[in-house]
């Protein structure tokens, strides 16, 4: 467990699963879940490099900023998704390609 590569491989798998969710899911909320997985894998990388680079605290601060951005992004994205649902009665992202109804 005390090896940088272990954490990097976990992060690679997490990123790939998140990307798979983003490109294959139809539901907008499910796409958002994929984005959250990707952000988590990025955070894991930041903290792994911080730990194995001699407890470099800059990595922790950047992970904190990523979490803040994720919270802001989730709030705005869900507001948009609820608006889409009110206009189209669906949130399947492949069906809401009309710019004007």
């Amino acid at each position: 467990m005390d090896s940088l590569t272990n954490y990097l491989v976990v992060s690679v798998v997490l990123f790939s699963l998140g990307l798979f969710g983003v490109i294959t899911r139809r539901n907008g909320v499910a796409v958002l879940m994929g984005v959250e997985l990707i952000l988590n894998s990025a955070n894991l990388n930041f903290l792994a490099f911080a730990r194995f680079g001699g407890m470099n605290m800059a990595g922790h601060v950047f992970a904190l900023f990523v979490i803040v951005l994720a919270a802001a992004e989730a709030a705005v994205a869900l507001a948009i998704i609820i608006n889409i649902f009110n206009n189209f009665q669906t949130i399947n992202v492949d069906e809401v390609s009309d710019l004007k109804q």
């Binding site: 467990m1 090896s3 590569t5 272990n6 954490y7 990097l8 491989v9 976990v10 690679v12 798998v13 790939s16 699963l17 998140g18 990307l19 798979f20 969710g21 490109i23 294959t24 139809r26 539901n27 909320v29 499910a30 958002l32 879940m33 994929g34 959250e36 997985l37 988590n40 955070n43 894991l44 903290l47 792994a48 911080a50 730990r51 680079g53 001699g54 407890m55 605290m57 800059a58 922790h60 601060v61 992970a63 904190l64 900023f65 979490i67 803040v68 951005l69 994720a70 919270a71 802001a72 992004e73 989730a74 709030a75 705005v76 507001a79 998704i81 609820i82 608006n83 949130i91 492949d94």
Partner: protein
């Protein structure tokens, strides 16, 4: 023993993440996301990032996940329609993701990473606070402005027009 726990946590994280992108039921996906977040929190603890681990639990599990479940509840007619969702283009998606994963894994294994030996574990909260108030003061203030903007933007977007 710590080794064993580490692999249990890794299995929990990746298994739940797989459930998130595979499950047919949107609510099952959301609950699997909870376990994935908790697994990532465990990995943060293994990386000696105690403060970030607590922030992860508070913000992701207590905030973002609740928001996502609210989003599911508000955009589905619970009583009439089953909360199912499907995937499209699974074959080509799997191919593309496998390609990217192979590329990344090759990069991870072929790069000679420098790992410092004898790193001492230390308390992180005080150093994070010092960095936020000194070196990263401007990004910190920008993040607070961004949160205010996101708050106002989300309220404006989601309320009914008069």
């Amino acid at each position: 023993m710590a080794d064993f726990t580490f692999w249990i946590v890794v299995g929990l994280t990746l298994g739940s993440a797989f459930m998130v992108v595979q499950s047919k039921n949107l609510l099952y996906s959301a609950y699997a996301l909870l376990f994935s977040f908790m697994g990532v929190t465990g990995l943060y603890v293994f990386l000696w990032a105690d403060f970030i681990a607590v922030v992860q639990v508070v913000v992701y599990v207590g905030g973002i996940l609740i928001l996502i479940i609210f989003g599911i509840m508000l955009t589905n007619k619970i009583t009439s329609v089953n909360i199912s969702h499907t995937s499209v283009q699974k074959g080509i998606g799997t191919l593309a993701v496998l390609g990217i994963a192979t590329l990344l894994a090759y990069m991870v294994f072929s790069t000679p990473w420098i790992e410092l030996a004898n790193v001492e574990q230390e308390e992180t909260t005080a150093s994070i606070g010092r960095l936020l108030m000194m070196d990263y003061l401007l990004p910190f203030e920008a993040a607070s402005l961004l949160l205010l903007g996101a708050l106002i933007g989300a309220t404006t977007l989601s309320r009914k027009e008069d």
